[in-house]
């Protein structure tokens, strides 16, 4: 190569590098949410708050003075978080953000969050891409708190990222509501301002063991095969002693590496130990492959319950292999939480109905909401309720309101631990268990099969 083109290349490269480096803002990450139409600005909110208030019965009872005054300009309430727009967690994280966006839409329609003194807060969200990596999370949360002046924080998706974020939130005394973070250990650090919405990982598959004994009382032997990552290992480690305490014999307890695609060694061992049930799994890709290979190798196990993968609508793409597979879920569109069931449980009901949430989600995103979507909406909803209960946005009062909270929403019952060591850990929300079944036309559908009081169909054993 002659010297000139070589120098030209070098020049182009250096110019591009310098330009790109200069173009990057100091903090780099994105500040504008990529989703359409986030929170409206204050001006339109003020204009729309009056009619919105008129449609809501409780607001209509407010003192007439409020009506004679010009509409109060809503104060901005910045809710900061990171989302995984890239990397391993992006699918679930996207659903979570979609759920939150729907809550923001609903609050905007209702004219904001109103306090008793007439102050109106209009929540807005601000998030950055954490690339599904912990090393970015803390820097981004520090930026959200210190530069963007976020009033409240929500967690990123996944236990690992939420752990890192919670540390920064706690350092700065910011209230954080977590979703997509089911890990038990995270919530056993004595946090003061972090509140968990998900049922902890330790309770993910214990219900499946209860269900097994109910629908197949002859079952005695179970195999626990799980992904060796933080979440799935927590689930498996909690399931084993629970199953044994219920009289089940754990004949196999094996972990597989993240990213495993060949389950033959495990399936061979399953065949050798001849269990009545298989419980475990990990995430979507491995869970789907595991279910498929169990089907292909015709393993005669009557009951299979796997983590994370079955509740995803695309699980049915594996065809007949999906049938009878049971999955624990934080929420499903068929759940029966309602004002009536709340009344029966002697707790208040708050917010939208299950149907209203599902319909609005389908209308906006043309897709069925998953439990990740419901978790995203519930994060906002619980924060809204806490602000209303506290009648303030003062963090200490919000923490006190969250500590007192014990209510039912479309997402289920929410109550947080007030014990110093496990403060903020979810204590009341229950998992539901869904199963892929075939309808009369032979089409794969999902039904809730456990707990019995929430079921939409009876659980079926594999044939």
């Amino acid at each position: 190569m002659s010297k000139f083109p070589r120098l030209l290349w070098i020049g182009v490269l250096l110019t591009a590098l310098i330009l790109t480096a200069c173009a990057a803002p100091t903090a780099a990450p994105t500040s504008a949410p990529p989703t359409k139409a986030p929170a409206p600005t204050t001006a339109p909110v003020a204009a729309t708050s009056a009619p919105a208030a008129a449609t809501k019965a409780p607001e209509a009872t407010k003192p007439p003075a409020a009506a004679t005054k010009p509409p109060v300009a809503a104060k901005k309430l910045l809710i900061g978080f990171t989302a995984s727009q890239t990397g391993a967690q992006q699918v679930a994280s996207k659903k979570q953000v979609e759920g939150l966006q729907l809550w923001l839409d609903d609050v905007a329609k209702a004219g904001g969050i109103k306090l008793k003194d007439g102050t109106v807060y209009m929540p807005e969200m601000k998030f950055y891409d954490d690339e599904s990596k912990t090393d970015r999370v803390q820097a981004l949360y520090a930026k959200l708190i210190n530069e963007d002046k976020a009033d409240f924080l929500l967690s990123p998706y996944s236990s690992g990222l939420a752990r890192a974020a919670a540390v920064v939130g706690e350092q700065n005394g910011k209230v954080m509501i977590t979703a997509g973070a089911a890990d038990d250990v995270t919530m056993e650090q004595g946090f003061k301002n972090t509140f968990q919405l998900y049922t902890p990982a330790s309770r993910y598959l214990t219900g499946a063991a209860d269900m097994l004994m109910k629908i197949d009382p002859t079952a005695k032997k179970i195999a626990i095969v799980y992904e060796k990552d933080a979440f799935s290992t927590s689930v498996a480690n909690a399931l084993k002693p629970y199953a044994e305490s219920k009289g089940l014999n754990v004949v196999m307890f094996e972990g597989y590496d993240t990213g495993a695609t060949d389950f033959s060694p495990f399936i061979n061992k399953i065949s050798a130990t001849n269990p009545d049930a298989i419980l475990g799994g990990g995430h979507f890709a491995d869970g789907t492959t595991f279910a498929k290979q169990l089907y292909e190798k015709k393993i005669p196990v009557r009951f299979v319950s796997l983590l994370v993968a079955p509740p995803e609508p695309t699980f049915k793409d594996i065809g007949d292999a999906a049938q009878y597979i049971i999955g624990p879920s934080q929420w499903e569109p068929q759940v029966t939480y309602s004002a009536e069931s709340a009344k029966a449980a002697n707790i208040p009901y708050y917010g939208v109905s299950v149907k209203a949430f599902t319909d609005a989600y389908v209308a906006k995103y043309k897709d069925t909401p998953s439990y990740h979507s419901a978790g995203g909406y519930a994060q906002g909803l619980i924060l809204q309720k806490a602000i209303e209960d506290a009648d303030s946005v003062d963090p200490a009062k919000i923490v006190a309101a969250l500590d007192k909270m014990n209510l039912m929403t479309f997402y289920g019952v929410v109550k947080f631990s007030t014990d110093a060591k496990t403060h903020g850990k979810q204590t009341a929300h229950d998992m539901v268990y869904m199963q892929w079944q075939k309808d009369s036309a032979g089409k794969l559908i999902t039904n809730i099969v456990w707990p019995l009081e929430a079921k939409s169909a009876d659980g079926q054993l594999r044939k």
Partner: protein, 322 residues
């Protein structure tokens, strides 16, 4: 210690220190967090440069020492309530010892075989840690929040970790400079250019390489201990993340292979570039592809990297830019 009076070294150290102190003086916690990551990358890139730039051994799995230091430090802070500074030093010592022991057989390999072996070592450690229950297994470990009370609170602990990372970055740069300017460094560069000829000249390549590998393992381990202490939790995946190693290689190549300032410039440009790429809607899903393409262009056309190229342009720059 004549090298320590070199203005080149002091210019670099003062610039890094001045930039690093901005968030502390101006009270900008968000900038502090960003600079923490940047200083960490400078440490990783400079350490990789010590083994790769001076000796010519491409260590693809150098992140293993970051993980080892992280786990050792975390374990000591968590279980023995040891001060993080001492825990980090022990973490560094453990990583160096492991590098020394592993280096003896592995550094006999040359070229691609060594690179592959380092990847294998990283994966082996990740799997090992995943299977040790005392280190939390696959779940990892979480620091009890009360541990930070010993440092005056979580915020103060975070500040302490930041001062620690500044110190480690300055030490790494100094070590890199001292090695380059020493007789030992000349021996390494002789090995890099032609190992057989170096042996004829009386250099013991095995000893020199193992020593270098052990030194280059020390600093990432300190960074790992400080990073995970500040992070509050550690898991096998993020601790032994292979692509962070590859990013460090890109930074070294970008800034200047075998130079002291190169990895610093490389880390700075790469981090800024990454910040831009991941937030740009067009490039956000392809930033590693672009990094790969960038590496290819550098390897093909700017083999000396930014600093190397600048040094080639003028004798004055050659005198002050190491």
């Amino acid at each position: 210690m004549k090298v320590l009076t070199s203005p080149s070294l002091w210019i670099v150290l003062l610039v890094v220190l001045a930039v690093a102190l901005i968030p502390m003086i101006a009270n900008l916690p968000a900038l502090r967090e960003e600079l923490f990551v940047l200083l960490m990358l400078i440490i990783l890139a400079s350490s990789v440069n010590i083994i790769m730039g001076y000796t010519g051994y491409v260590s693809f799995g150098h992140i293993v020492f970051f993980g080892i230091g992280g786990y050792t430090g975390f374990f000591l802070v968590q279980t023995l309530q040891m001060h993080v500074a001492l825990a980090a030093l022990i973490g560094g010592g453990v990583a160096s010892l492991i590098a020394f022991l592993m280096g003896m057989p592995v550094l006999r390999l040359r070229g691609a075989y060594f690179a592959l072996a380092t990847i294998g070592i990283n994966e082996a450690f990740r799997t090992l840690v995943t299977n040790i229950d005392q280190l939390g297994g696959a779940v990892g470990m979480l620091l009890q929040f009360s541990v930070y009370d010993a440092y005056g609170g979580a915020k103060e602990a975070s500040q302490l970790a930041y001062y620690g990372i500044i110190l480690v970055a300055l030490l790494t740069i100094t070590a890199s400079f001292m090695i380059k300017k020493s007789k030992f460094g000349l021996a390494l560069m002789a090995i890099r250019e032609d190992q057989d000829t170096a042996m004829v000249l009386g250099i013991d390549p095995a000893r020199a390489k193992v020593m270098t590998y052990a030194i280059s393992a020390f600093f990432p381990a300190l960074a790992g201990a400080l990073f995970f202490f500040k992070n509050g939790n550690i898991e096998p995946g993020p601790a032994f993340e292979l692509h962070r190693s590859i990013e460090a290689l890109v930074m070294v190549m970008l800034g200047g292979f075998g130079t002291v300032t190169g990895p610093i410039i490389g880390a700075f440009v790469y981090e800024r570039l990454r910040g831009f790429l991941i937030t740009d809607p067009t490039f956000s899903n392809a930033h590693l592809v672009i990094s790969g393409a960038l590496l290819l262009i550098i390897v093909l056309f700017v083999t000396a990297g930014v600093i190397g190229w600048l040094r080639q342009q003028s004798p004055v720059l050659r005198r002050y830019l190491e």
